[in-house]
Symmetry: C2
Subunit: 246 residues, 2 copies
């Protein structure tokens, strides 16, 4: 009999070429697969809730795989943490319904994007927040964020090379808040296209810098053209922050 094991992870994406296993590149999925092989004695196919990019972090990430092992879950979590690189932590582990799939059953995700908005760089956030040394009008940008909310075709916010069948996604909530020099963009949606959050942030930064017009997001969405939106903000400020399941 095969069990379906669900894991929640947290990882620092700095040393990884993203979630997905690739030839000749260190990935979170690859490290987790190797760890599973060591502690469970077989090499499972691990399904992740998302493909995070190179350098993107996860405060929470869900994955699952099938295993004949039926050991105590706490021991499995402990085993993973003993053999995984320290930059990945298994937060919890449980046996779940046979039909559960971390990717297809995911009902929504929240991403955050951190910006260190200060003339001086912050040595502690070099890999954990974008350094943006110019003035950032977060009140104005927070009003722009409201234009992302809703069900839209987000083609303008999708990097070339995406294999998505439909580019329609629903953004439930979106805002940007300041705490001292740390500015945090937050977006909760039912799903996200390739690079979508980073382009949403880059578009806000381009509006802030006057490269794109204020209140232009509805028009950018309508144009369904990647060239209408702003730059793709760097990966290292981005965190998968929450994942939602029924």
């Amino acid at each position: 009999m095969m069990n379906n094991l669900k894991l929640f992870l947290r990882y620092d994406g700095t040393p990884y070429h993203g979630w997905q296993m690739q030839e000749n590149a260190v990935s979170v999925q690859g490290e987790l697969t190797k760890a599973a092989e060591r502690i469970l004695g077989h090499r499972p196919t691990i399904y992740g809730c998302s493909r995070t990019d190179k350098g993107v972090h996860a405060n929470i990430f869900c994955c699952n795989f099938r295993t004949p092992v039926s050991r105590d879950c706490e021991k499995i979590a402990y085993g993973f943490n003993a053999v995984l690189p320290e930059s990945i932590s298994v937060l919890s582990c449980e046996y779940t319904d046979d039909g559960f799939n971390a990717r297809f059953d995911c009902r929504g995700k929240e991403y955050i994007y951190k910006i260190w908005n200060d003339r001086r760089r912050n040595p502690f956030l070099l890999h954990y927040a974008l350094h943006y040394p110019h003035e950032l009008d977060t009140e104005m940008l927070n009003r722009q964020c409201a234009d992302y909310i809703g069900t839209h075709d987000f083609t303008s916010f999708c990097a070339a090379g995406s294999s998505a069948v439909s580019n329609v996604r629903t953004v439930f909530d979106c805002d940007i808040q300041r705490q001292g020099s740390l500015v945090t963009f937050r977006v909760h949606g039912d799903g996200f296209l390739y690079n979508m959050v980073r382009i949403m942030v880059g578009t806000l930064l381009d509006i802030n810098a006057g490269k794109l017009e204020k209140d232009s997001i509805p028009q950018i969405i309508l144009e369904k053209n990647r060239l209408s939106a702003g730059v793709t903000a760097k990966a290292h400020g981005l965190y998968l922050n929450k994942v939602y399941y029924d």
Copy 2:
């Protein structure tokens, strides 16, 4: 004419063998001296407010040196940040009184020590907080902290090899607070002996673990014996957090 230049820094201590310049080891003072040589054209003697140990961080650090250069301060700060490693940031730069010395004029310092108190490690805090997976009774420990306050001979909290003439120091304030899984110890005093803060934290952890008795800090202080106090907590949780001048 020589100017006296005062700098405030922030640095991530992870890659450094502490503040002080040494043969065959990378230090903050060494990097700063090299940077000064590049941007000012001479190799100054830099005086630091403190000698932080290997791996210890600084949210704020003050230093000064003499220079014949009289360039605009903002340009000097900019120059330093352009050539320094990214793990060091010059926060500010100003010309000060000729007599000012960052070490001898320092009237007090605040250190913080961060503890990640959770069964699971935090990948983002590997080098920035001690991972303590066992239960931590912060209310009880906060009561113990009160016993550090006052003017005492802190010989029991001083590592061997210290060259201090007197081991009497005044702790103005000391507490430990929890925010979720992050526990922060904070101490403000007129000065600190070698490893003093790390031994204060290690002693609290030993009290928490039952290796030392509750309410034993006054007695440990009285014994003036390093062996009476607890372990030296690891360096990577420690931050110089504030420095006070008249």
